[in-house]
């Protein structure tokens, strides 16, 4: 989409579209929490257009939370949304700068403003459904890859599919394995923790989870987000002849409407 005074960042999830114009940095609400019904969210696409305006754009993160306990789902959702991931480390600032100054702007006071969208489901199988992966399939059908998820945080002890089982399924999938996975457990069992980390979990949090734990998630989310944007950049550069590799020229190309067939993201 294009506005006369500049392009906009549009994030769409079916049923809920919110947009941010270059003039109005306020985001609308995050998508609703799905508690115990089948997710019909598909086709979330992120069309990121370079901004010519020097406004503080807000990065959008999407976290998938998995927990069979409703109070716990409420808590993790609020923790994620309250944590503004303030105080970026030098590394992540550098990383952001290296990728592109246009990928997201930093507020003038140096704070990394962010909005965390949370989808919460009550089981591992619903999580896989949301991610477009079904139990009997190794890889999803291509048009079900359109969900952008930057982090999966799951409880360990769940009936049916445990958090560990879910982790395994995710890591076995070539489409999903790059999504960072965090396991939560109320039991402090070293062998369990090791097993999860060995299987590819990026972090293990002991419950009850608190606000200070959210800072442990930040590097994983940022890395995932950077990778997402980097891949998108690569795709845009290879697909569009109008956009040059030079960032200055890219700014001048703001008037171009990017092709709508952006490669669906699978992160």
């Amino acid at each position: 989409m294009m506005l006369p005074d500049g392009p906009i960042l549009v994030e769409s999830i079916p049923g809920k579209i919110w947009s941010k114009s270059a003039r109005d940095p306020a985001f609308h609400e995050s998508p609703p929490v799905l508690s115990s019904h089948r997710s019909t969210i598909r086709g979330g696409r992120s069309i990121s257009l370079p901004s010519s305006m020097a406004v503080a754009t807000e990065a959008q993160f999407h976290v998938l939370a998995v927990d069979d306990s409703l109070p716990d789902r409420k808590l993790i959702e609020r923790l994620l949304k309250t944590s503004s991931f303030q105080g970026t480390t030098r590394f992540s600032l550098l990383l952001a700068a290296l990728l592109s100054q246009l990928l997201w702007g930093l507020a003038s006071d140096g704070r990394f403003g962010s909005v965390c969208a949370v989808t919460a489901v009550d089981s591992g199988s619903k999580a896989l459904e949301f991610l477009g992966l079904h139990d009997h399939e190794e890889s999803p059908i291509s048009d079900q890859l359109d969900v952008a998820v930057n982090l999966i945080i799951t409880d360990y002890c769940m009936p049916g599919m445990t958090g560990y089982d879910l982790l395994k399924k995710i890591k076995e999938s070539s489409y999903l394995r790059d999504i960072p996975v965090v396991i939560m457990s109320s039991d402090n069992i070293p062998s369990r923790i090791n097993r999860c980390l060995e299987e590819g979990a990026d972090e293990f949090l002991l419950k009850p989870v608190r606000l200070s734990d959210m800072s442990k998630l930040k590097p994983h989310i940022l890395k995932s987000r950077c990778k997402e944007h980097y891949e998108q950049e690569q795709h845009l550069q290879s697909n569009s002849s109008c956009i040059s590799r030079d960032s200055h020229k890219r700014k001048a190309a703001d008037d171009e409407i990017l092709p709508s067939t952006i490669r669906p993201r699978h992160c």
Binding site: S69, L70, P71, D72, K74, L75, R78, L79, K81, T82, C157, S186, K207, P208, V209, R210, L211
Partner: protein
């Protein structure tokens, strides 16, 4: 002013809940999240969800313990659930009672479990009553000053 008196009552209630070990610092986390996130109904929501959850679990455990042959693994699984959610909301006393309950499950003692269930029920009802009073006081205070969270 009536609002000040109510506020004093609320503070005294919260104070006693902490000092008696009914709630712990995790409950303070909830309050902090409510304040920092600008989400006024958050504590009420979580506390209510916890109460409903706990009520359901206690009923399930009671049913299991009435069976001629008790499935202690199932009972333990429910107690584990209750322990988890009480820890998440900061319901410290209920959490500790659950930990003791699990011992009886592991010992496969029906009498022990029945006793532990009675204690858990008692502790939970006590906490729930106090939560309800807390929420009522907050609503009354809000009525006087809607801007106050």
């Amino acid at each position: 002013m009536a609002a000040a008196a109510l506020r004093e009552q609320l503070n005294a209630l919260l104070s006693s809940m902490f000092s008696q070990g009914l709630v712990d610092e995790q409950f303070q986390q909830l309050q902090m999240l409510q304040d920092e996130g600008g989400t006024p109904g958050f504590v009420a929501e979580v506390v209510t969800l916890f109460s409903d959850d706990a009520e359901r679990i206690i009923a399930e455990i009671a049913t299991l313990l009435e069976q001629p042959i008790v499935n202690f693994d199932k009972v333990d699984a429910f107690v584990h659930q209750l322990k988890g959610s009480s820890a998440s909301v900061g319901a410290q006393k209920v959490k500790f009672t659950c930990m003791q309950f699990r011992q009886f499950c592991q010992e496969k003692s029906r009498d022990g479990c029945l006793m532990a269930l009675a204690v858990v029920r008692n502790d939970f009802y006590d906490l729930r009553n106090k939560f309800q009073t807390m929420l009522q006081l907050e609503q009354q205070i809000q009525a006087y000053d809607p801007k106050q969270q």
